[in-house]
């Protein structure tokens, strides 16, 4: 079953990559950013299955973005793959360190503490005038293993890199979900104490998930930095985290693909809302969200999966 899922998923990615050159340029750019954000959302899905909602993923998003940008600014690196790996690694390291503290917390306190950490980074970036403070700074155009495409070709290459990274991430996370550590997420959410009786440390498990989510956030941030060509402290602000949480819940936790489809749909809805009602587009966005919640309470993923999440025992 898993093998078949992987195969069809891979085919979907290959198909999209193949038709990319014939799609309109604005859609490619929009989709690149949407899929970069989808990686952060994927990290949030990993955490949400364990019952944790992080309002601080923007921390890793910003670290990934600034690491990639600084690799260029300080070391002159322009290779996109190096920047993405660098961003992901830096974010994973920070996630590991922060997780040492954060893994003990649950519910709103976890959410608020993760928010606090990301806001502290925000404050530090705002105070750093050398990095442009709130204006941030630009990132040089990416190169790809020595190949230096220009104009729309570069955007296409970036899109393919993003697609490839997403495919790898989907594979890894899908595999993780099928592993024991991944499968233990739901029991941890439902009743941590019983999981501990099984001899498993819930805190350690959550620590691992935090690191994974951080790495995904960092990779997403690095890709976004390359796609937008600019980094600024707003990437660490709590409203950025809120946006990711928004898409996560919209997408639902039942399938990996939902993160990507949900992120793309969100970006499209937002863009068309601004297009149609420039002065009051938030009403459209809020209404779409509300309708989705009321009619698709398990997220878009439940449309994609045949069986929705089983109703959990509400032992609170």
């Amino acid at each position: 079953m898993a093998g078949r899922a992987n195969l069809v998923g891979a085919l979907a990615f290959v198909l999209v990559a193949a038709i990319a050159p014939s799609l309109p340029a604005w859609l490619i750019s929009l989709a690149t950013i949407a899929f970069a954000n989808a990686l952060v959302v994927l990290g949030l899905v990993v955490l949400w299955r364990a019952g944790l909602v992080s309002f601080g993923q923007a921390l890793y998003y910003a670290i990934g973005a600034y690491s990639a940008a600084l690799l260029w600014r300080l070391l002159g690196v322009t290779d996109a793959a190096v920047m993405v790996v660098g961003g992901g690694a830096a974010a994973a390291l920070v996630a590991f360190l922060v997780g040492l503290l954060l893994a003990r917390y649950r519910e709103i306190f976890f959410a608020m503490l993760s928010l606090a950490v990301s806001m502290i980074l925000y404050g530090a970036l705002v105070k750093t005038e050398a990095l442009g403070s709130t204006d941030g700074f630009n990132v040089a155009p990416a190169t790809f293993l020595g190949h230096t495409p220009a104009g729309q070709a570069r955007n296409l290459w970036l899109f393919w890199l993003t697609l490839g990274t997403c495919a790898v991430a989907a594979l890894v996370v899908g595999g993780y979900f099928r592993s024991i550590a991944g499968a233990l997420a739901v029991p941890v959410r439902d009743n941590e104490l019983r999981v501990e009786f099984l001899g498993v440390s819930a805190d350690r498990l959550i620590h691992a998930k935090l690191t994974l989510a951080g790495a995904l956030g960092g990779v997403g941030g690095a890709l976004a930095a390359l796609a937008v060509g600019h980094v600024d402290p707003n990437m660490a602000y709590w409203t950025t985290s809120g946006g990711f949480v928004f898409v996560t819940i919209l997408a639902g936790a039942s399938s990996v693909a939902a993160a990507f489809v949900g992120s793309l749909l969100f970006e499209l809805v937002r863009s068309y809302a601004v297009d149609i009602l420039p002065g009051t587009w938030q009403i459209i966005l809020g209404s779409v969200l509300l309708l989705t919640i009321l009619f698709l309470p398990d997220g878009i993923g439940s449309v994609l999966s045949r069986r929705a999440r089983p109703p959990e025992a509400q032992a609170r």
Binding site: W48, G123, K127, R194, W281, Q282, L285, R316
Partner: protein
């Protein structure tokens, strides 16, 4: 010496502001376990309603005290109406679902209400400074304190006492405390939790709007004032403990004093203060300052 006094008064004024904003949120959160993102919208509506009332009432030669009263009533009425409509209309549909879903509903509502503000009041700024000026000021050496600020401190203290009294000595207050403590057992004892929910949410909305109403003369009432308030309110609730009015008060005072000290002594860290305090408190008290010991569920 004067600086120390200034830090104290500034800290208490800011604490009063935080407390009035956070008390509604902590009640809703404690009873319904809902992270009400729309709380920012209640604050905004209260502020706009109050500013509109001030604009209509003042400068007509009518008694000043009436203006203060009208301002507060305008804000509270808006909070009442919106809270009631929201709870009955939308929240009803999602009770019992995953808490995170409910949070998302409140977030969607917040987005919609933000644009409703634009539709009703437009994108301009509404000054409502007349009550601020009317309250006069008090000189302490080189330092001049605003009468309105001192009034705010008094108002917050009265509110805290009223809340404590209501929670301990009125029937509804005791019902609320019980539901905060353990929802399931309360329902098992025959308490109509649904009505308690409605009443709590509306009360929280009214308090949120009240916060906006009393702050309107001090700030520029314009788009976006609801957004920052959400994080501040959440931080205070997290520091104080969910559902605890004393916690909200103590948390507000701590944050207020730290922030005032930062502004006077180390302005560079002012941005970090509330998050630093929250992180520090949570490191030592993972469930906030004032929470009851939770029984472990096996």
């Amino acid at each position: 010496m004067l600086t120390a006094f200034a830090i104290l008064t500034d800290g208490l004024v800011y604490a009063a502001y935080l407390f009035v904003v956070a008390i509604g949120l902590t009640l809703i959160f404690g009873v319904m376990k809902i992270l009400n993102v729309a709380h920012g919208a209640f604050y905004a509506f209260g502020a706009y309603g109050s500013a509109t009332a001030v604009g209509l009432y003042f400068d007509r030669g009518l008694p000043v005290a009436g203006g203060f009263l009208l301002m507060v009533l305008a804000g509270m009425t808006l909070g009442l109406v919106i809270g009631f409509v929201l709870e009955r209309g939308i929240l009803r549909l999602v009770y019992g679902k995953d808490e995170v879903i409910v949070v998302l509903v409140t977030y969607a509502v917040f987005l919609i209400l933000e644009d409703v503000v634009i539709l009703i009041w437009g994108p301009g700024t509404y000054p409502a400074y007349q009550p601020l000026v009317a309250a006069g000021n008090v000189a302490v050496g080189r330092l001049i304190l605003s009468g309105y600020d001192l009034g705010l401190i008094g108002f917050a203290v009265v509110l805290a006492f009223a809340a404590r009294l209501a929670l301990r000595h009125t029937r509804y207050g005791r019902l609320l405390t019980v539901v905060i403590f353990d929802r399931e057992t309360a329902a098992a004892f025959g308490i109509d939790v649904t009505t308690v929910y409605t009443a709590t949410f509306v009360l929280g909305a009214v308090l949120g709007a009240l916060g906006g109403a009393v702050m309107a003369p001090k700030i520029a009432v314009t788009l976006g004032i609801g957004v920052e308030v959400i994080v501040l309110a959440f931080a205070v609730v997290a520091i104080g403990g969910m559902g605890s009015v004393e916690g909200a008060l103590v948390g507000a005072v701590i944050v207020g004093l730290c922030r005032a000290a930062a502004v006077h002594l180390v302005p560079q860290v002012e941005l970090f203060v509330i998050y630093g305090v929250m992180a520090l408190v949570l490191v030592f008290r993972p469930y906030g300052l004032f929470t009851r010991a939770r029984p472990r569920r096996i």
